[in-house]
C-alpha cells in the first residue's frame, strides 16, 4: 500500500511582519489560526497554538524593545507535508533566550506564588519542539506543533 499522500496539505512558508505593538496582536493571531485551521488542526490544538503564540508575541511586544519606538516582529509559518506546523518568531530586540528561564515552582502556596513567569513555561509545555538562536542581531524562536500534543 502506498504511503498516504498528505502533500496536498503542505503549505509554503507564510510571512507576516508588523510593528511589535499590542494593537497588532489580533492580526498576528488571526494569521496563524486561519492557516492552522486550513491545515486541519483540531479546535483544541488550535487553541493551544493560539496560547503559545500569544505568550511568544506578548513577550516580544512587552520586553524586546525597551527604549525605542515599537520595533519589528516577524512571523514565519510553514506547514509540512508530515502534518507538523513550524513557526518562527523573530525580533531585533535585546538578546534574550527564553528557554534559559527556570520553571516556576508549581508547589508553592497561594501567597508564595510570584505574579508572572508563566508565559514561557506554558510555551514549553504545549509545544512539540522549541528552540532559540541569535543570528544577525535577531532573536529567532522556532516552534513545532504536531496535530495532537503528546506529553
Amino acid at each position: 500500500m502506498p504511503p498516504p499522500n498528505n502533500s496536498r496539505k503542505a503549505i509554503a512558508p507564510n510571512l507576516i511582519e508588523l510593528p511589535a505593538k499590542l494593537e497588532n496582536l489580533p492580526l498576528f493571531m488571526t494569521f496563524v489560526c486561519d492557516q492552522a485551521r486550513q491545515f486541519d488542526f483540531t479546535d483544541k490544538r488550535t487553541l493551544e497554538i493560539e496560547l503559545v503564540l500569544e505568550e511568544a508575541l506578548v513577550n516580544v511586544i512587552e520586553y524586546a524593545y525597551p527604549t525605542e519606538r515599537p520595533g519589528r516582529l516577524i512571523l514565519h509559518l510553514e506547514g509540512k507535508a508530515d502534518g507538523k506546523l513550524h513557526l518562527e518568531i523573530r525580533d531585533k530586540g535585546v538578546l534574550f533566550n527564553p528557554l534559559e528561564r527556570a520553571a516556576p515552582d508549581l508547589e508553592a502556596e497561594l501567597m508564595e506564588r510570584p505574579i508572572g513567569g508563566l508565559g514561557i513555561f506554558l510555551m514549553k509545555e504545549l509545544t512539540d519542539g522549541i528552540s532559540w538562536h541569535r543570528k544577525d542581531d535577531e532573536n529567532c524562536l522556532s516552534i513545532i506543533f504536531e496535530p495532537r500534543h503528546v506529553k
Binding site: L22, P26, E55, V58, P104, L106, R113, L118, G119, L122
Partner: protein, 109 residues
C-alpha cells in the same frame, strides 16, 4: 471578555466570566475586582462556563485577585471551567491554589 454580576449576598458576589481572557482583556477583570472591593465585597465565585480561552495574562489577573481577596480574609472560587481552560490551570499548578468546582451549586455548598 464579558463579566456579568449574578447576585450579591452580604460580602459574597457571584458572577460569570465569558469570552477570552488574554493580554488585551485581562485588565478588565482586575479593575472590575478592585471596583467590587471598594463596595465592601470580599468573596467571589466566578462561573467560567463560557470562558473559552485564558492565557498567562489571564492567570496573572486571577492570581492577583486571589492574593488580594485572601489578604482581606475573603476568597476567590471558580466554577465550571471548560476543558481547555482547566488544562491551562493544571499545567500552571493553579488548580492547587485556587478552589475549582464543577458548578455554582457545588461552589456554594
Amino acid at each position: 471578555m464579558e463579566i456579568k454580576e449574578l447576585k450579591r449576598e452580604n460580602d459574597l458576589l457571584t458572577a460569570t466570566l465569558s469570552g477570552r481572557m488574554d493580554a488585551i482583556t485581562a485588565a478588565e477583570f482586575t479593575s472590575q475586582l478592585e471596583n467590587w472591593i471598594t463596595q465592601e465585597l470580599k468573596s467571589f465565585t466566578i462561573d467560567c462556563g463560557q470562558l473559552d480561552y485564558i492565557s498567562s495574562a489571564g492567570l496573572r489577573a486571577i492570581l492577583m485577585a486571589a492574593k488580594k481577596v485572601r489578604s482581606l480574609d475573603g476568597k476567590l472560587q471558580l466554577a465550571a471551567l471548560q476543558e481547555s481552560v482547566q488544562t491551562v490551570f493544571e499545567i500552571s499548578g493553579f488548580d492547587k491554589i485556587i478552589p475549582i468546582f464543577a458548578n455554582l451549586d457545588d461552589a456554594a455548598s
